[in-house]
């Protein structure tokens, strides 16, 4: 008799238990696919929030600027430098920084003024797309500024309200001007949320009486995927006198969080699959021991041990295949659905979740990748087959007489 149809009959014969096994595995697979897709989405969002919002992949400074962000520690060869790195496949945007005081009505707060080059900034970072209310900066609106959400709350201002900024200009005079809030950012990171004050680079220069030079150049690699260390090295060679750091060096904590979430995803998957494996093992053990007399008779009829072994494996494969199809049928559409319809925890998490200085969006988007779908399925197969090895082997080598009298 054909081994496949034999296996199929066996499965069909014990329909009840087969369905329990299948549905348990299907449910676990479904959850795993969804969970993996969701984790991919969250890790992605965390990494994006950390890097593309503001930090950038690389930053160039005058050595020492990061420890002592002095107004006069400037990169002067900025235009030539931007051209140089562009020639090598990078794209950069210059930034200007200063500390100041922002006041609106009776409220005031310390701010970090951030002068950005509008044309370039949007090529390198994505803060422009992360506006909660209002609009991003505009060249035609030199007195329109964009501020962090906590800062907006501290100053008690909304879009259209005016803010006075006071600082000390480069010439020692008192820098002050009146701006209108043009936009309020979503949560980007603790620093920007609480003191981020974005304005056009030209407005910054007017305010701070700073004619030339920039404090920071944020760089993004445009080419094919290349190891970060390699790119850091390449970029560093292009600007020998300046300090080049990649985002992992700039924010080691963020890098660690991103790495940790990847590991924790793998660990969570392992735990869940172990549980499923035990479930499959249990079901298979039961189905083998229940039919131990049948196997004894099969052996007595002269069926080779490897055929008995293959039979049990086949039964398992059939069940796992059905379970996988069900898991895919449930998990993939749901994961795709959550790519555009996120799980919104903002009501539970009071708007802004920040972890080690990076914003974690309380709105969870999933992201379906090849790995997030097929790794769960592959592992499901692997675990079920591994789990069934012992009972199958046991059945294959059992002695007929013992089996027939088995109780």
């Amino acid at each position: 008799m054909n081994l496949v149809s034999f296996a199929f009959r066996n499965v069909a014969r014990q329909r009840h238990r087969a369905w329990i096994t299948i549905s348990a595995m299907a449910f676990a697979g479904f959850i795993m696919i969804f969970y993996a897709s969701l984790m991919e989405g969250i890790i992605d969002a965390t990494e994006r929030n950390a890097i593309s919002m503001e930090l950038g992949q690389f930053q160039i400074h005058v050595p020492g600027y990061r420890t002592d962000p002095d107004l006069y520690t400037l990169i002067y060869q900025d235009i030539a430098l931007l051209q140089t790195i562009e020639g090598a496949g990078f794209i950069g945007t210059p930034r200007l920084y200063a500390f100041g005081l922002a006041a609106a009505g009776k409220a005031s707060a310390g701010v970090r003024l951030r002068g950005v080059d509008l044309e370039r900034e949007s090529l390198v970072t994505e803060a422009y797309g992360h506006i909660m209310t209002g609009k991003w900066l505009d060249e035609r609106d030199p007195f329109g500024v964009v501020i962090g959400r906590k800062l907006a709350k501290t100053l008690n201002v909304g879009v259209g309200d005016e803010v006075v900024v006071v600082s000390q200009a480069a010439d020692g005079s008192m820098a002050n001007d009146l701006y209108a809030v043009r936009g309020i950012l979503k949560s980007i990171g603790e620093g920007i949320d609480a003191n981020g004050f974005f304005l056009n680079a030209s407005s910054f220069r007017d305010l701070m009486a700073l004619e030339a030079g920039v404090h920071e150049i944020v760089v993004r690699w445009q080419g094919r995927e290349t190891p970060l260390e390699q790119l850091t090295q390449n970029l560093g060679d292009l600007v020998p006198d300046l300090e080049v750091k990649n985002w992992r060096q700039l924010r080691p904590v963020v890098a660690r969080i991103v790495d940790t979430s990847r590991y924790s995803l793998i660990i969570m998957l392992m735990i869940t699959y172990t549980a499923i494996g035990i479930l499959a093992l249990n079901a298979m053990l039961m189905s083998v021991y229940e039919r131990i007399r049948e196997f004894g008779i099969m052996k007595a009829l002269g069926i080779a041990p490897w055929r008995v072994f293959s039979l049990i494996l086949l039964e398992t494969v059939m069940q796992v295949s059905i379970a996988s199809l069900l898991a895919l049928a449930g998990g993939v559409p749901l994961s795709y659905y959550c790519e555009s319809h996120p799980i919104d925890l903002s009501k539970l998490a009071s708007a802004s979740l920040t972890f080690a200085g990076i914003a974690i969006d309380p709105v969870w988007y999933s992201r379906v990748t090849f790995e997030s779908v097929f790794t769960p399925v592959a592992v499901l197969f692997g675990m079920a087959l591994f789990a069934v090895l012992y009972p199958a082997g046991k059945a294959a080598v059992i002695r007929p007489v013992q089996a027939i009298y088995h109780r």
Binding site: L101, S108, A109, G110, V166, Q168, M174
Partner: protein
């Protein structure tokens, strides 16, 4: 505020000048004498008022600037400073009332209150912080005074005071050393040491003139120890003392008046 601080320091020495005589005769212990002087200083400051015109010259590695300003003070709680020049900053005014500091910005026609985050920032680009402006020198309350030296130094007879902050005093300095002339009790040098007892800045007083009916040093030169090539210099052009100034003068309304 630079001027307040300055006035405080000068005030201290006026006090030495004014009450020094009383103390000399009466006190037996030098510590008693020093403390008594300090207490008198505080008392004097509660009633004193002044009006002055001064210019401030600041030199740093990055810029040199001169600001002329008009300054009114009353007691140790109130002061108003208005910038006369340069034109870019004309009419910018700072009001100190109690622990609050307000700045009027003519360019934007707005008044803002300085918050703690701005306190360690530079005042008007000088080597003074906004915190200097707010801190009142309650010398007898915050410091334990001691006369550490009295006699000849560099051909002048001087008195040197050491002021050590009391353990719970809300001051940023670890120690202040004042040197005054023995004869007139006019300030010569005051040195501010930080909490690690490292010299942070040195005030030098010179150009003694008769102004507002008193003999005062018209020039004060401040050098931060970590940047010896930089300085802030205050030159008094005129001072009047003990004028009648109403409390209402030190108001937000007055701050905005041009």
């Amino acid at each position: 505020m630079a001027t307040i601080l300055r006035m405080t320091i000068i005030g201290v020495f006026f006090l030495f000048l004014v009450i020094g005589q009383d103390v000399y005769g009466g006190s037996s212990s030098t510590t008693m004498r020093a403390r008594q002087i300090l207490e008198e200083v505080d008392d004097l400051w509660r009633s004193q008022s002044s009006h002055s015109i001064l210019s401030m010259r600041v030199k740093t590695r990055h810029y040199t600037r001169t600001v002329t300003m008009e300054n009114w003070t009353k007691g140790k709680e109130k002061s108003l400073v208005r910038i006369l020049s340069p034109r870019k900053e004309k009419d910018t005014a700072t009001l100190k009332s109690g622990n609050n500091v307000y700045t009027y910005l003519p360019k934007t026609d707005r008044t803002i209150r300085l918050t703690s985050s701005m306190m360690m920032g530079s005042w008007m680009g000088s080597h003074f912080t906004n915190d200097d402006l707010v801190k009142e020198s309650r010398l007898s309350e915050d410091y334990d005074p001691e006369i550490v030296f009295e006699g000849e130094r560099d051909g002048r007879s001087i008195i040197e005071f050491g002021l050590i902050p009391k353990p719970d005093a809300p001051v940023v300095w670890g120690k202040i050393v004042f040197t005054i002339t023995a004869q007139d009790h006019l300030p010569i040098v005051s040195q501010y040491f930080d909490e690690d007892m490292v010299l942070a800045r040195t005030f030098t007083f010179s150009d003694i003139k008769e102004m507002g009916g008193r003999k005062v040093p018209a020039l004060m030169h401040v050098v931060p120890t970590d940047k010896p090539e930089e300085f802030t210099e205050m030159v008094y052009q005129s001072i009047q003392f003990d004028l009648e100034i109403a409390d209402s003068f030190f108001s937000l309304h007055q701050l905005r008046r041009r």
